[in-house]
């Protein structure tokens, strides 16, 4: 009986201790997924019951995304008019380059198959496919990939790798790394080749950097793309663009073949000399807008600019284009 009593006392001590231990159990260490943006992935050698079945951060952007042209449709689908720089924080150098631009430059062999760069492609008229690359062992997302009809595969690395040397090659997609901020994927892109911020000659330099924020809300993807360009912009240039999930969409192949579109002497690059292209004011005149406004600049993107130009009713009707 004495032995039984002793056993009961031990049992009592054990049972009373269990809840206390449960209270004192330290919070589980951050899961590998939580640290994925900061550290290279590590294999899970042992099964861990504390691995969570929902991502501590982030969402899954995988899918076929259809662009919705409910903003700037005339610019994004048929294309912008010459001399329309409204609401873009360009400097004089960008304006000068744009005003010497000729659309026929697109016929040059070097330009015919040129894809939109990572910053502009969001505004292009192309369907989008997003997929993820997963580490087969840890099952962490190590990269996101985005591909549009007229673009190259774009990788966004999530494994914490550094950006390459400034002397590394620049590409249309640039070099992108991502990290989660709640459910928002924030992406930094460097190493972009020279591109454009609008398809009417407004340039973007290869010194520019791009910050993106991808936001998934229901079946709608909103992407804020912010370009900082010390060469051609006086302020960061932000655009926000919406895509709708479309599981029936198919991004078809786009084999581009260079052909001789225009018979011109070797080395000739279509252009206008500064101050000679009078067509750059046609847009302002047709729409009844002040030429000063259509020349763009940071001032034109802020509401107070309306006080400067006064109450104006536009004469633009796109259907007449």
């Amino acid at each position: 009986m004495s032995l039984t009593r002793t056993s009961l006392l031990f049992a009592l001590a054990g049972v009373l201790t269990i809840p206390l231990l449960a209270q004192q159990t330290p919070a589980p260490a951050a899961s590998p997924v939580q640290g994925r943006a900061a550290q290279p992935s590590q294999s899970l050698v042992e099964y861990d019951d504390d691995v969570q079945r929902a991502a501590p951060n982030g969402v899954d952007f995988t899918g076929e995304w259809a662009p919705r042209f409910h903003e700037d449709e005339p610019e994004r689908v048929p294309g912008p008019e010459l001399g329309d720089y409204l609401g873009i924080p360009i400097n004089d150098a960008a304006r000068m380059r744009a005003m010497t631009w000729e659309a026929s430059i697109q016929t040059l062999p070097e330009w015919q198959c040129r894809p939109h760069s990572a910053d502009y492609i969001w505004r292009g008229p192309s369907p989008l496919r997003i997929w993820k690359e997963v580490d087969p062992v840890s099952r962490e997302v190590t990269a996101w990939h985005a591909e549009w009809l007229r673009s190259v595969d774009r990788s966004i690395y999530m494994d914490g790798r550094p950006h390459p040397s400034p002397n590394a090659p620049h590409t249309w997609a640039g070099f992108s790394t991502g990290k989660w901020e709640g459910d928002v994927l924030t992406i930094k892109t460097t190493h972009l080749k020279e591109g454009y911020v609008r398809r009417n000659g407004l340039p973007r330099s290869d010194a520019a950097t791009l910050t993106e924020h991808w936001m998934l809300r229901g079946d709608v993807l909103t992407v804020a793309a912010i370009i900082t360009d010390p060469v051609y912009l006086t302020e960061p240039f932000i655009r926000t663009t919406d895509y709708e999930l479309d599981p029936h969409q198919w991004v078809p192949p786009y084999p581009c073949q260079v052909v001789e579109e225009v018979d011109r002497p070797r080395g000739v690059v279509p252009h206008s000399l500064p101050g000679t292209n009078n067509a750059v004011t046609d847009f302002a005149n047709r729409c009844g807008l002040p030429v000063e406004a259509t020349r763009g600049g940071a001032e034109t993107m802020y509401p107070d600019f309306r006080a400067k130009i006064g109450a104006i009713t536009s004469k633009c009707i796109a259907a007449q284009r």
Binding site: L20, H70, V220
Partner: protein
């Protein structure tokens, strides 16, 4: 002796369960946190719209008949073609293009404050409008059950029900991740008085359901903080499908430049 042991064992059981019961009791006694207390980001402050998109439909009055980008149906087009700003002014309806489905797209500053712990308030410079985004008071801090308005009438700003977007909880065995606010504010607005999506008479009807997602982004490398509002307008009367726009605002240090402006019909 045997009965003494049994009584002792029962006592052990009772004592052992006390801490667990106490834990449950503590949880049950905690008052629910208010929507303001669990806000995942700070939405308050002064913000200025940065008009880098749709400039010619926002910064000036668009021409009659210029409906590009809007998925208007035939009835919507016919209605838009009857736009008469002088008639609107005469009828005292000069605020038609400042209703909730449009006002976030009108250039200007906005001021966001917590009116109460369960209501976010947005004041706009443009048209001097006030939006009240009410979190459901009887479904917990993230509930979406509509609150009751004292006057259930149609207004320019309608009735807006707010909720924090929640993360998923995962599935399958051992699923144990609790839902949590993930950063976005979702607002669904109904009870809207008929108005204009654009100043040139592009219509929306009282049947409109407006869904918005507010996201605060940044700070960026230069310190900028952005507010992005994704707007989805559903109007079976005048639209062929959902109408998507996303508008961006930059945070201002203060309200020094705040300058409310009355509604204008043109």
């Amino acid at each position: 002796m045997r009965s003494a042991v049994a009584a002792f064992a029962v006592g052990v059981g009772v004592v052992a369960t006390m801490p667990l019961a106490a834990q449950r009791g503590q949880r049950g006694q905690q008052p629910p946190l208010s929507p303001r207390a669990i806000a995942p980001r700070d939405f308050t402050g002064y913000w200025v719209s940065v008009v880098t998109e749709d400039w010619r439909w926002r910064m000036v009055t668009p021409a009659k008949g210029d409906y590009d980008s809007v998925p208007l149906n035939a009835e919507g087009r016919r209605t838009a073609d009857t736009w008469d700003p002088k008639r609107d002014e005469a009828a005292g309806e000069q605020c038609r293009s400042y209703g909730a489905p449009a006002v976030m797209r009108v250039p200007g500053r906005i001021h966001v404050t917590w009116e109460t712990d369960t209501t976010l308030r947005i004041d706009t410079e443009a048209g001097t409008q006030t939006r009240l985004l009410r979190f459901g008071s009887d479904t917990g801090p993230t509930g979406v059950r509509p609150v009751s308005d004292p006057v259930d009438s149609l207004t320019w700003q309608g009735r807006s029900v707010a909720s924090w977007e929640l993360s998923g909880r995962g599935g399958g065995m051992f699923s144990r991740t609790p839902s949590r606010p993930s950063g976005a504010l979702k607002v669904v607005t109904t009870n809207l008085k008929a108005g204009y999506l654009r100043k040139n008479g592009v219509p929306y009807s009282p049947n409109t359901v407006l869904t918005e997602y507010f996201n605060v982004l940044g700070p960026e490398d230069n310190g900028d903080i952005w507010l992005v509002v994704t707007t989805i307008v559903q109007d079976p009367q005048y639209l062929n499908g959902r109408f998507f726009t996303s508008s961006h605002f930059k945070k201002l240090p203060d309200g020094a430049a705040w300058h409310p402006d009355a509604c204008r019909a043109s």
